[in-house]
Amino acid sequence: MKKVGNPNSFSKTFFSLAFSVMFAIGVNAQDAAAAPAAAAPAAAAPAAGTGDAVAGKALFNTNCAACHKLDAKMTGPALRGVGDKYDKEWLYKWVKNSSELIKSGDAKAVKVYEEFNKTAMTAFPQLSNADIDNIIAYTMMPKEEVKTAAVPQGSEKTGSGVSNNLILGVLALILAVLVFMLFMVNKLLKKVVESKGLEVAETPKSLPLWKAFVQNQFLVLVSAILFLLISAYFMYGYFMQIGVDQGYEPIQPIHYSHKIHAGDNGIDCKYCHSSARVSKNAGIPSLNVCMNCHKNVSEFQGDKDSVYVDYTKEFYTAQIQKLYDAVGWDKAAQKYTGKTKPVKWVRIHNLPDFVYFNHSQHVTVGGIECQKCHGKVETFEVMKQDQPLTMGWCVDCHRKTDVKIQDNAYYKKIHDQLSKKLGVTKLTAAQMGGLECGKCHY
């Protein structure tokens, strides 16, 4: 079932504040533990062989990584330890022109060629023997130990957190001391009264407060009216948020992180949601679009500077595996099995049937950023509905937004005539007729 919060609820705000305070404390403790672990892999780089592994890594990433991985088969074989399997001279020849080697009938070359679906490796005549040495050196490096703890966690950076807590602690201590002192003073005063035999003057018994209240009819009337008004206000607030799903953040069958794709990797929204440019639907990308990249990206590498709530590398790699299962991609064989299982995403932005909304009008014609309605999606680990998507919200924007008329012959005449008539230089969508019922309801 859908969970929808009341956006105005102040209790929610209160709890989330409380949560974040607690969370901040927790993070500090973990950060301290993570620091030494992160330092470990850097030290583990031995200078093996004749080549320079660091230079080799750079060369590997620019030239080889499109088809090779160190530890897994991709388009080509896994390359870790390749220097042990083949002699160097053979490798030079292979890298510089593999097809020639295959043609010459070299047994090893033909075997590799056969194994990988008879796809010949691209020739790299531009690589010198030294370059190849460097790459081999890189591939000969021992495998890094995977440190799960290395993935940074938490959503807030620390900074001056420690000193803040310290101040808070000190303040709490002072408060406690003050309370204690008050208690002591009170006790002392009582003792003084007792010891001196003094009597504390008793206040005369007055009417209980509630009785006085009931007897004052004016007050009853006023508070009844107040009560009714307040409850009406809250009722209104409650009813107005029915069907408004701002913040709707359902659990999806595949944990897809917009943050990793659009944020860290900077993929354009319209690369995947390409129909937003031409259609009324932005469209959920079909799985073949995912496979454009994920044919190569089969495991999560992570980005050191980024924060991924509390998901591990394995977690993300498992999500990629879910994609492979759905699209029917056999990672090991690098082949489609033909067994597909469409993904049933949970739709987040649901406009009612009686509203017509067209993405291309806003994206292509209006040139509006996706973020304007969908929020900073590139920071969302889990996709959610950022804006209320109510009619008031639509209308508000139509009233404020100027029509983008630059280089659009369609608007030229209408805009000239209308702006003259209305005596303005720029027209808003509303002035162009963007508030008429029939423009969205038919």
Partner: protein, 1019 residues
């Protein structure tokens, strides 16, 4: 941030694909609450002891439940493609050119598809396309989603596989060959050269194979006549735009006569230009569409029509031998002289189902050297041979037929001697029927082979000699169906797919176009030369026709533009489509002349709720009798009755659609003209007629109508007020033009677009293609017969039909104006409610007029209907609370109220009640719910889409780029839509025309729909 912890109630929920979980999520109550048990049955309801208290409890509980349920939104799943086809972009429509060829309707069309679903038929507007898509063609897209289609092959009524079916048929074919038994392939007119080739291949392989072509509604006589003159079986083609005088003897050429499709060219000649328009004389028995559009209509019996033909022939050729008609002889004589004077600008057509009559018409047109007569481009869409079919039935009963393979025919339903055919089937070793429905024939044969719908098939069609069309599939077969041609290939042991075969076969016919271009265009135009007539003996025909006599009453069987031959009887759009002439939906009926009705005691009367009732009559032809309800039809020739084909089907038909009577039972010898006797039968029939008012009562401001003489005289004098008077109203006790008075201040509408719709009453033939196109585009619901009877029909666009009470509409006005004194007026008006025995007819399409000063807008208490700057009267359904004030205040009565929920409601078991049928819905238009008002939106979704396209391409909108569903469907050019602020557009020019007028102009609503005065050629 909301918690993303997931709580589950059972282990099953962890399984993402579990159907149980999904079912539970979507329906709280998996089983239906048995409401019907205590509410559905009247008896149990009255016997139940629900007290007032219980009732209040139910109400309270259901209100509380409903309001609680409303608080939580449903979870909507979105499932993208795994691999998205390149050409499909969700939300963007694709158009494919294809060709309909169902044996009765043939046309080049475009199919609009959304997300891979065909949702609408459009005209193919390329130069040279055969584009006259009629109402049935527009509705055919819904027949694709017919839930009662045959969903897989069946052997002896048990589901089977295609391999079993093909093996069985091949065995039988081989056995027939070995034993010398006859194999008969019985098809409708496929007009498909590649199919003919495949059947010829089959004949070559299995030797004793005969191909019999069978048209349910036969044009056998016309084909025989054409064959005797030109040497091959086809029908002469006509171009009515080239004729000044058109004489039709019983030919409803604006309806389904010889395949129809003549509207566009006919309408071209009907719009007065430079003081000239064509003259159309219709001699006929039934009131047909062509008759309703004629300038002069002469109602005659069949025998008199035959004699009239002789008269025409004599006049044209100057041959002797005078004939005399039993009545209206002088009128016919006048027509004959007019035709003679027109010479090569004249043309004669006939629908008489008689070889001699058909032959004589060819003779007359040859003698006239008629320019409109075009045998060279002969139509190839009818090939049926009634004699061969009769022979087949005899052969079957004689046990001579070993294997019978049928495709696209339903002889058990459409043959008059259906009983003989059924008994013959019992003597055939193997009978196979390729059919889309499990129809009357399919349940009687050994193998019912599920055939593709035409939108799922490849095909080639030669519609005329100059046209070679390609049909391409627009969706994959929805069910386990195969097209006939694929099966033929299998039987021929040809391993090619039909697509490859067709591509190879078509290569020779593409006249220089590439295959891709031909598929893209949907057709190829092939140059053809003229045809020379071989000698024919017209003289013998003249004497036979001149000797024609009547015995008894003439029964003229015809087809309605809504139902045709009945193969789409399970199409709710077509069932609810009101007949253009009688305005009756959901029925066929005997049409009877007023005088005859009096003689036979037949009655039509309206009951209290406005519904039309009628007597039943029994028609007897030979030994066959049919009892059908009666409609008294003004203009029906005395001594004749009419009855439409296509109704009275029972198989593969929802119960709601099993209406009417089967006229094929009277179709003896496949002849549409029969001698019959009529007697009154018991009972009273309830019609669903959408128009109560039959005459205009002399209100010349609704349909302005004038004669060509008056029109020309007035135009010469430069005074259009004579035929198109501006209405006047009283202002300060002075009569002033209504257009000059206004309650409201007008907005300036000169900026941006301003949409107007123009309707030329001269060009509108009343065919109704626009009505169905509107249904398809706007998701207009079907409400069923009993609701239509209660005047709750939902058509956004209706075509009003009016009869004149006097001889002419002008006569009506004279009579009304001439009545003096109160009693005299009352009597006169009373009399005017009755149409004349041979009235003038006028059609007027009426939809929301989109008034600039709309009366509906001012009375809506919730501002659900409001005005747009571009001229449309908007209707926000979600805002409407259903007070119906707007409908009460609308002077044009075009607003429609949703009395019920018409989708997903078992009480309205039409296409919107099943998943398959809902696939036809246009996703850009809302499906309205119960309790809201709806009406024509001037296809705002289409104008918005056109604007958006222009915006995206950064250009201005083209001059005639804006369209509505109705204007796009109108092939006759009567409806033109566009932006009047674009001075170059057609509609802006039409607005300035002298014939332009607004409906009920005197009430000052300033509509954005305007009409053009109807001009009749009285010369």
């Amino acid at each position: 941030m909301a918690s993303n912890k997931k709580y589950w109630k059972s282990v099953e929920e962890l399984n993402e694909n579990s159907s149980i979980v999904e079912a539970l999520q979507n329906n709280e109550f998996v089983e239906q609450i048995p409401v019907d048990e205590f509410l559905g049955d009247k008896e149990s309801l009255s016997n139940s002891s629900t007290s007032r208290r219980d009732f209040l409890k139910y109400v309270g509980f259901s209100t509380a439940a409903a309001s609680l349920a409303a608080c939580e939104g449903p979870v909507v799943k979105s499932i993208p493609y795994v691999v998205q086809p390149e050409e499909i972009i969700p939300g963007v429509a694709d158009y494919y050119a294809t060709t309909i060829a169902d044996g009765y309707d043939f046309a080049n069309i475009l199919i609009k598809t959304r997300e891979g679903r065909p949702i609408k038929v459009e005209n193919n507007t390329l130069q040279g396309a055969v584009s006259g898509a009629n109402a049935r063609v527009h509705a055919s897209v819904l027949s694709l989603y017919d839930n009662l289609r045959l969903k897989g092959p069946k052997i002896d009524k048990k589901p089977a596989t295609w391999n079993q079916v093909n093996a069985k048929i091949k065995t039988s074919l081989t056995e027939a060959k070995a034993k010398g038994g006859q194999v008969v392939v019985l098809t409708n007119t496929t007009a498909s050269p590649s199919t003919d080739k495949l059947i010829a291949d089959l004949a070559a392989k299995y030797t004793n194979v005969k191909h019999v072509v069978y048209d349910a509604i036969s044009d056998s006589n016309a084909l025989d006549a054409f064959q005797s003159v030109y040497g091959f079986r086809a029908l002469a083609n006509y171009n009515f735009s080239k004729a000044d005088t058109i004489v039709s003897v019983g030919a409803d050429f604006l309806g389904d006569w010889q395949g129809g499709g003549y509207d566009a060219e006919y309408a071209k000649g009907r719009i007065p230009k430079n003081g000239k328009m064509s003259k159309h004389i219709q001699i006929e028995a039934n009131m047909s569409l062509a008759g309703a559009n004629a300038d002069k209509r002469i109602p005659l019996t069949i025998a008199d029509q035959k004699k009239a033909l002789v008269k025409l022939y004599n006049a044209v050729t100057g041959a002797g031998s005078s004939v005399k008609l039993s009545k209206l002889d002088a009128e016919v004589e006048k027509a004959a002289q007019q035709l003679k004077t027109s010479g090569s600008k004249g043309v004669v057509v006939t629908g008489l189902d008689d070889f001699d009559a058909q032959l004589l018409v060819l003779g007359i047109n040859i003698a006239l050297k008629s320019e409109a007569f075009n045998p060279g481009d002969a139509k190839l869409t009818r090939k049926g041979d009634a004699k061969a079919v009769a022979q087949l039935v005899a052969d079957m009963n004689a046990g001579n037929v070993h294997t019978l393979i049928m495709s696209g025919v339903n002889p058990v339903y459409t043959l008059a001697n259906s009983k003989d055919f059924v008994s013959g089937l019992g003597k055939v070793k193997l009978s196979v029927a390729f059919t889309t429905k499990e129809d009357e024939t399919a349940v009687k044969v050994n193998i019912a082979a599920a055939a593709n719908h035409y939108l799922e098939s490849w095909n080639d069609v030669a519609i005329t000699r100059s046209n070679y069309s390609i049909a391409q599939p627009t969706i994959r077969p929805l069910f386990d169906t195969k097209q006939f041609q694929e099966a033929l290939l299998v039987w021929n042991d040809n391993s090619a797919t039909y697509y490859d075969f067709l591509k190879g076969f078509a290569a020779a016919n593409l006249a220089g176009k590439t295959w891709n271009q031909a598929v893209h265009d949907g057709f190829v135009a092939i140059p053809v030369g003229a045809l020379a007539a071989q000698g024919a003996n017209f003289g013998a025909s003249v004497s036979k026709l001149a000797a024609a006599t009547s015995n008894g009453t003439d029964l003229v069987l015809y087809s309605k533009v809504g139902m045709g031959d009945g193969q789409q009887a399970n199409n709710p759009w077509l069932q609810e489509f009101p007949d253009p002439i009688t305005r009756v939906s959901w029925d066929n009926y005997v049409t009877v002349a007023q005088a005859d009705a009096k003689k036979w005691n037949l009655q039509n009367f309206n009951v209290a709720n406005g519904g039309l009732n009628g007597s039943y009559a029994t028609i007897k032809v030979g030994n066959a009798t049919v009892t059908a309800p009666v409609i008294i039809q003004p203009g029906q020739a005395e001594g004749t009755v009419g009855l439409a084909f296509g109704y009275g089907k029972k198989e593969a038909l929802k119960e709601e659609m099993q209406v009417g009577v089967n006229a094929y039972a009277l179709y003896a010898n496949a002849n549409a003209n029969q001698s019959a006797s009529i007697t009154l039968a018991d009972g009273e029939h309830e019609f669903a007629c959408v128009q109560l008012q039959r005459t205009l009562m002399g209100r010349g401001d609704i349909i302005k109508d004038t004669t060509l003489t008056t029109f020309n005289k007035a135009n010469d004098a430069g005074n259009k007020e004579v035929y198109n008077p501006t209405p006047v109203v009283s202002l300060d006790h002075k009569e002033v033009a209504a257009t000059s008075v206004d309650l409201w201040t007008s907005f300036d509408r000169t900026t941006g677009h301003h949409f107007n719709l123009s309707i030329d009453l001269n060009a509108c033939t009343g065919c109704g293609a626009c009505v169905i196109a509107c249904h398809a585009e706007n998701n207009v619901p079907v409400v069923g017969k009993s609701e239509v009877r209660r005047s709750r029909d939902m058509h956004w666009l209706r075509i009003d039909r009016y009869y004149s009470s006097q001889e002419t509409f002008a006569g009506d006005i004279d009579k009304k104006e001439g009545a003096k004194g109160l009693m005299n007026s009352i009597d006169a008006l009373d009399a005017m409610e009755n149409p004349s025995a041979n009235p003038q007819v006028a059609f007027q399409p009426v939809m929301c007029q989109h008034c600039n000063h709309a009366p509906c807008e001012t009375v809506c208490p919730v501002a659900a209907t409001s005005h747009g700057r571009e001229g449309q009267n908007h209707m926000a359904y979600n805002r409407c609370v259903g007070t119906r004030y707007c409908a009460n205040n609308c002077p044009y009565k075009v607003r429609r109220f949703n009395w019920f929920l018409y989708s997903k409601n078992d009480e309205f078991n039409y296409h919107m009640n099943d998943d398959l049928g809902r696939m036809v819905l246009n996703p850009d238009v809302n499906v309205r719910s119960r309790g809201v008002m709806e009406k024509c939106s001037m296809c705002i979704q289409m104008t918005q889409a056109t604007k958006l396209k222009a915006k995206k391409e950064g250009r201005e909108v083209g001059k005639d780029e804006f369209q509505t569903a109705c204007s796009a469907a109108c092939t006759s050019g009567a409806m033109k839509f566009g932006d009047v602020n674009n001075a170059d557009s057609d509609v802006a020019q039409l607005l300035e025309d002298d014939r332009m007028y607004h409906l009920l102009e005197h009430i000052g609503t300033k509509p954005n729909v305007f009409y053009h005065v109807k001009v009749r050629n009285d010369k």
